[in-house]
């Protein structure tokens, strides 16, 4: 079996990559001296994959199905995976995002057994009308919990207002109504279409060896023939659907998220593009920036303020979000700064300052097995090799970043999402 070693001298780190005979891609990063290990297995199946063609059959599933499937995979005919993990002491969990579903555990002993449980979990679907029905109440409460979360709502509303067609505009967990339509057949359809080992990745980091991981894979995994499932994504226009959306919730401090939509592209951006955007956002809106200072001085943001770049299958956008007593005013100032940014670009000095900061952040992400394994699995899903940023960063110039800026932060293509308090305590002064 071809184990490829990928190393980075600057960081003094390395990991191994192998395509297992079963079809599963496995990445392994042993960390000397660490006591814990973290494993995560994921598939390219998230909330946006709600319509697809498998073996010539077109299937459309209710919103929230990927997340529902995540919950139900924990049960098999022999019982649930949590009770098996309980015997090894591993701490287990799972998550569903727009693009992927991942199952994970961390442990400090009996790693091999826990990895075996993780493999069994994703390889033995067992759905009956009774087990599926039982989850309605639990997930229903999970949905309601998120309905009350202003941080969650401000972002989900932003997606709904920015995207007209793309299913990123739907809540990941669906609604109480959509999940009521889910049946065992639907879950089996999704499982058979997306939980093929050739569509999945396992990443492990910490107190483990490649031999150990591969031995468990050899004993547990049977070969999957590659199968192709075509996800159907509707055509999404370039322009935002609307430029403003608000919701009233019982909050004492209002929240906002200002999104700048970009062309959805054909997939994930490259490492260089992603890195340039990170430096750009640090220089433009980081704590050392003029914009941050202006927003602070005008009492429009607090330490919850953050700028983020999000990209996935058919969607790309930048968001500026945080708590603000006057969300509209905060957004006006950011919008004005965006226009000026396009005129002047990032200065050499700001670039150097932001680059240093970004370098330190990347280097420090190698301190935790969970962060490493998560970054590794994301690197597979996005196609951005994990060492590329650290290799690229010293060669970058301010011109690269300003060049990148041209296709980002279109001053005409924004959307503001606001969560305001019930007493309409938000007194917005427009400027």
């Amino acid at each position: 079996m071809g184990l490829t070693e990928i190393t980075n001298e600057r960081l003094g780190e390395k990991y191994y990559s192998v395509k297992h005979s079963s079809g599963l891609r496995i990445l392994i990063c042993p960390k000397e001296g660490f006591r814990s290990a973290y494993a995560v297995i994921g598939t390219r199946f998230g909330s946006i994959n709600s319509s697809f063609i498998n073996n010539g059959r077109k299937i459309t599933v209710p919103d929230g199905t990927a997340h529902y499937l995540e919950h139900k995979l924990f049960e098999s005919e022999e019982g649930d995976a949590f009770s098996q993990y309980a015997r090894t002491g591993a701490s287990a969990n799972a998550y569903t995002s727009f693009d992927v579903t991942c199952y994970l555990f961390s442990c400090t002993e009996r790693f091999d057994e826990s990895l075996g449980i993780l493999f069994d979990l994703v390889r033995s679907p067992y759905f009956t009308p009774e087990t599926v029905a039982k989850e309605q109440g639990i997930i229903g409460q999970e949905i309601k919990m998120y309905d009350d979360s202003p941080e969650w709502r401000v972002n989900i509303n932003l997606m709904q207002a920015m995207y007209s067609e793309h299913s990123i505009n739907k809540d990941i967990a669906g609604t109480v109504e959509t999940i009521a339509q889910i049946t065992p057949e639907i879950l089996y359809d999704c499982y058979n279409s997306y939980y093929n080992l050739n569509n999945m990745v396992l990443c492990v980091a910490g107190n483990i060896t490649p031999e150990q991981v591969l031995a468990v894979a050899d004993s547990k995994l049977t070969k999957d023939e590659p199968s192709v499932t075509e996800s159907l994504m509707p055509e999404e226009p370039y322009k935002v659907k609307q430029d403003y959306i608000e919701q009233t919730l019982p909050v004492a401090v209002p929240l906002f998220s200002l999104g700048y939509k970009e062309d959805g592209g054909s997939g994930y951006v490259t490492s260089k593009e992603s890195l340039c955007t990170a430096i750009l956002l640090e220089a433009f809106a980081g704590e050392g920036s003029e914009l941050y200072r202006e927003l602070l001085d005008k009492k429009l943001i607090n330490s919850s303020f953050a700028a983020e770049y999000i990209d996935g299958t058919g969607y790309r956008y930048i968001s500026f979000s945080g708590e603000s007593r006057e969300p509209k005013l905060a957004a006006e100032i950011i919008k004005k700064a965006v226009v000026e940014l396009h005129e002047k670009g990032i200065s050499e000095e700001d670039f150097e300052n932001a680059r240093n900061c970004t370098y330190g952040r990347i280097a420090r992400s190698w301190d935790s097995p969970s962060a490493i394994a998560t970054d590794l699995i994301n690197s597979q899903f996005t196609g951005r090799e994990i060492f590329e940023p650290i290799n690229l960063i010293s060669g970058l110039t301010v011109n690269d970043v300003n060049e990148r800026l041209r296709s980002e932060l279109d001053p005409e293509n924004f959307c503001l999402s606001v969560i305001k308090g019930i007493e309409a305590a938000v007194e917005d002064k427009s400027i």
Binding site: R10, L11, K31, E32, G33, F34, R35, S36, F82, Y85, A86, R87, T88, G89, S91, A92, C107, T108, E109, K134, E135, G137, I138, I139, Q141, K144, M145, D147, D148, S149, E151, G206, P250, V251, A252, V253, L255, E282, G288, E290, Y292, L296, N302, S303, E323, R325, A354, N356, C357, T358, Y359, G360, R361, A363, R364, W366, D367, S368, S394, I422
Partner: protein, 420 residues
């Protein structure tokens, strides 16, 4: 590796080092420990925020943060926590280990210097803090206090504690109260600064690589020969004459139920671990009594968890439920607590909880932040067990020890935040 080495500078001032070369980051935490009071809690919290905003050398927010960016995105920040009836004010610095600095600079000593200068040489004009800095940070603390209402789960827990401990200092918010924050004057802040430096117990912890000597000497020169003693003790309530009940309404789709219990205050390290273990058995894992019965069997909720606060001797159980299921959930929780009290504890339940708790203790050794938090939570204890020792203790806890502690649990307060 990961062993804590403690030096005593004088009575009430300790300097701890966890020398560990596995990490690409380092961390320095200066903790000031003082009894809680509504007024001083607010002053101390605002002071910590003002201090970490600027210093003599970098006199405004932007210049300080640009310097931190140069130091590879280092972080300098305050953290305020309650430990029993005490307030622990942390000034923290974390940044890249020197081995990874691109230009060979010593990030760790620069950061240590910055942190010391922030505490000892703040930017004072005519003996006062900068007016604008104070107003800026006052606004942000007020927003932080207000935004506790935004997070409904946290808010319900906070309200339960306020009602349960209304006659104890523990009911004070870690940032103090809103009115107290608004009332703070320049003089208050300056005296809070002097008071903390002169009277608060000081516990410094340096974690990661690099030589601790430089910071040690700074601390020694400032604190040697200035002993201090922590006054007072956490109030422990062990008797409940009547269960307090309170409900508030809010425009939310999911109601919250929080049940507050009094426990035996765990005196020894062994009792601390046993108490934590009891909490895991009840509601700290997917195999715990509450998860299996209230969530999985009855599908009443998504979460139903228990948290033990060993420094206060209380235990909280909380859940998010349908409004018409609040009563049913309370019954279901009470049933599980009573079962444990009556001795319903299988070998498997005990073994599984032990494995999970040991896993958590040992895992914390793989993170500087987790090790720092572990010790900060035990800042009032003379000689806390290390995470490794706690894991070993967990292994040896007996069924009887758990049942003995469980028999002391008493329901004190039931709080619900009721949705419409």
């Amino acid at each position: 590796m990961s062993d804590l080495v403690r030096k005593q500078i004088c009575e009430g001032v300790t300097f701890d080092t966890i020398q560990d070369n596995r990490f690409k980051a380092g961390r320095l935490n200066i903790k000031l420990i003082t009894p809680l009071s509504r007024k001083t809690a607010a002053e101390n919290a605002l002071l910590a925020c003002v201090l970490t905003r600027s210093c003599k050398k970098y006199p405004d927010f932007t210049s300080l943060y640009r310097r931190l960016n140069e130091l590879y995105g280092a972080a300098l920040f305050p953290a305020i926590r309650k430990v029993g009836d005490f307030q622990v004010i942390s000034l923290l610095a974390s940044g890249l280990d020197d081995r990874y600095a691109l230009k060979g600079e010593s990030v760790s000593s620069e950061l240590a210097e910055l942190l010391c200068s922030i505490l000892f040489e703040p930017k004072l004009v005519n003996g006062c803090f900068d007016e604008e800095d104070v107003e800026q940070e006052r606004r942000q603390i007020l927003e932080q206090i207000d935004s506790e209402f935004n997070d409904k789960r946290g808010f319900a827990i906070k309200r339960c504690i306020e009602i349960m401990c209304r006659d104890e200092l523990y009911s004070v918010n870690r940032y103090g109260g809103r009115e107290e924050v608004l009332a703070i004057t320049q003089d208050d802040l300056v005296s809070a600064w002097k008071r903390l430096l002169d009277n608060a117990a000081v516990s410094v912890m340096k974690l990661g690589g690099g030589d601790p000597q430089g910071v040690y000497e700074k601390m020694e020169s400032r604190f040697a020969g200035k002993p201090r003693r922590i006054k007072g003790a956490t109030a422990i309530v062990s008797n409940v004459s009547e269960v307090k009940r309170a409900a508030e309404t809010d425009e939310i789709s999911q109601s919250k139920l929080v049940m507050g219990y009094r426990c035996k205050y765990p005196e020894s390290n062994r009792e601390c671990v046993a108490n934590s273990l009891m909490s895991v058995i009840l509601g700290g894992a997917p195999t715990s009594k509450l998860f299996l019965n209230v969530r999985e069997k009855q599908s009443l909720c998504y979460y139903c968890a228990s948290m033990a606060d060993n420094e206060k001797g209380i235990l909280l159980i909380d859940s998010g439920v349908e409004t018409d299921k609040i009563e049913k959930t309370e019954k279901a929780v009470t049933e599980q607590v009573e079962l444990l009290k009556s001795g319903d504890l299988t070998d498997d339940e005990l073994i599984h909880a032990k494995l999970l708790l040991k896993n958590a203790y040992i895992s914390s050794l793989d993170s500087l932040g987790a090790m720092d938090s572990y010790y900060a939570a035990r800042a009032l204890r003379e000689s806390p067990a290390s995470p490794q020792e706690s894991a070993e203790i967990a292994e040896s806890i007996t069924r009887n020890e758990i049942l003995e502690l469980a028999s002391c649990i008493k329901l004190d307060t039931v709080f619900s935040l009721v949705g419409n």
